[in-house]
Symmetry: C2
């Protein structure tokens, strides 16, 4: 069988072997309900505690400020809807950007229907927000600013720390939520130093399992729960805790955080290799991902003019290479990517854009093969579809 | 080490070995994002399809009517909040019972705060609703009736089929939701024959994993989603699908449904053995679970007068026996059980109630040991705490 070259790690990652082991052990042995009063309950509760501490340690926050959810989308919904629900008496204005993930944008649209006013910040040609525009958008009745840490389609790293300073200076009562789903463990995040009140993360983006995420919610921020019931997660998130998922997430956090410098350096190196290889071999392209520290280590978005991204994706499958067109969450919808429009791409460029996303276990050899495959397939497709 | 006798299966169950294998395989090999367009995405999507079909088959409904959620609490929230959100223009009256799970009751209370009127049906001394009262409670502006299939604390089986007939006769526009978390696979449920529009279930109650559940939502019922984003689960439930959880749930449904007659008969036999053993050996008790078909096969609730349930629970741990006081979800709250009050227990009886809940893998030998242990410990405690 042909070797697989999995380059769709922004969509989802392969869990660490140790994560699979922890999950299997939890399912087989530590299967108690953490709310049960007997030994098997206490054993299960200990898993929650360890995992919560692992997440808190990486963010430099208190374990009591970490809430487990069913994933990134739930974390974003819980943060945004929770603030809107709890603080609408203070004001009904919210600020976000035009390049947020659908779990933020669709939620904002829902809040607009419910009477909230939402300002959508523009971005420049590399996907970055303008801090001046942010500053000017903050009003007395602004209750929430929600900005992503790393863009999921093109990898731009937003100036979250500066944004936090501006928000807290302009309106200390406005809360700052960061969708950190692509950012967590990939770029440095210290909520307490960055004015971040709420931070979302998702297990399956860093070699943990799917179906589990977390939300950092600063002590003192009062979120109305979106899901009510048995009072788990200190009342914020009812429902029997997903102990295998939580234990798996904790293990992934532990492994990734112990190696994050190596991992991220490695991905950055591979990304540069891939990028310059493609730039050298293939003409008439546009690299959408910003360079240097403005680009996340794991995401590379490139527009191949004169080529259809989806066709290119399937052509690369013949080489065992898996990439995506933009983001998995929107890949089956026929709408044009809002992110790619927002950074000013032409229709042809939008159509020709693919996203390559790395993990620390990709190799230099895979990068060479990928450059080669891109060269062959882009050349082929351009020949076939020449007007 | 002492053999463990796990009798807290209504709180959570030990996953089938085959479920653990399916989950490990999914995490290790089929780790793609179902929304990805390449082979690894398609492979992951196939897992969703198989599991959805397995659930649909058991309920006798269309696979397209099954939505995966993060668990029973989310299913109940999605059903109740979804109907309230979508159909409040038709009316704002909802009917439920006094013995529902907190994920229903707390959600109803939240809706009351938002202006809905909720009627809470009484129950008799065995926990059963009165169909006459249900009939008289249905109004023109009733949009939803939510009744559980099997009570989680005492195991009463509600007359769901008759309730469905009454609801559809009195107000064909009112939707009928059944919290089937303790009922699914334990008692026969055919939504299409029973007037059920929405049905909630949870994976970890039948030897599947935690963190995954499903909602049957009849075609034509329009639920406003509680979680918005990438449009997964046909827009009802955004977020990357928990493929390992979904595959594990599907496998558990497959195994349990192939054996449900044997499994349930076995549990019923063991339960009767336990009940008559305790009744013969221990005086001054009250069996809270109704007999015959009015009691679920797996739950036995008994009040030991003159004993504190929590103390008894910990005494039994010395014998390797794990039970619960009432339900795991409320065991850490100091409130008096609403269910036990509703069926008319005295304070002493409420205090002395424990729940024993079985699985098909418990044995007759375990039942004999459990009767013996109860006899010893209840006797001891009654001696120690005699007034």
């Amino acid at each position: 069988m042909m070797d697989e070259i999995y380059l769709d790690n922004a969509a989802t990652t392969k869990p660490f072997t140790e994560v699979v082991e922890v999950i299997a052990d939890c399912l087989t042995n530590k299967y108690g309900n953490p709310s049960s009063l007997h030994r098997k309950g206490i054993e299960a509760e200990a898993l929650l505690k360890d995992s919560r501490e692992a997440v808190a340690r990486v963010l430099g926050v208190e374990p009591g400020e970490i809430y487990f959810t069913s994933g990134g989308t739930e974390s974003n919904n819980a943060a945004i809807r929770g603030i809107a629900d709890s603080y609408s008496n203070r004001g009904t204005h919210i600020i976000t950007s035009k390049v947020e993930h659908p779990s933020v944008l669709r939620t904002m649209e829902d809040l607009e229907r419910k009477g909230f006013a939402v300002t959508y910040l523009d971005v420049d040609h590399t996907g970055l927000i303008d801090l001046e525009q942010l500053k000017n958008s903050i009003r007395k009745d602004t209750i929430l600013v929600s900005i992503m840490g790393v863009n999921n389609e093109i990898g731009s790293v937003q100036p979250v720390e500066k944004a936090g300073q501006i928000i807290k200076r302009e309106n200390p009562l406005a809360f700052f939520h960061v969708d950190g789903i692509q950012a967590f463990l990939k770029i440095p995040v210290r909520p307490k130093d960055m004015g971040i009140d709420l931070f979302s993360l998702s297990g399956h983006k860093f070699h943990g399992p799917k179906g589990i995420g977390a939300l950092y919610c600063r002590k003192g921020v009062n979120l109305r729960p979106v899901q009510t019931g048995g009072g788990q997660e200190r009342g914020l998130r009812a429902g029997t805790e997903n102990t295998p998922g939580i234990a798996g997430l904790g293990k992934a956090v532990e492994i990734y955080s112990q190696n994050h410098y190596d991992y991220n350096f490695r991905m950055k190196t591979l990304k540069e290799m891939l990028k310059s290889g493609i730039e050298q071999r293939i003409p008439n392209i546009r690299v959408n991902t910003p360079g240097g520290d403005n680009g996340a280590p794991h995401i590379l978005s490139i527009a191949f003019r004169g080529v259809k991204g989806e066709v290119l994706l399937h052509s690369l499958e013949k080489h065992g290479i898996y990439i995506s067109t933009r983001s998995a969450c929107s890949s089956k919808q026929n709408k044009v990517s809002g992110v790619l429009s927002a950074i000013g791409l032409t229709g042809e460029e939008i159509e020709g854009t693919v996203r390559i996303s790395l993990c620390p276990f990709n190799t230099e050899e895979q990068m060479l093969k990928t450059v080669e495959a891109f060269d062959i397939e882009v050349r082929n497709l351009r020949k076939m579809f020449r007007r």
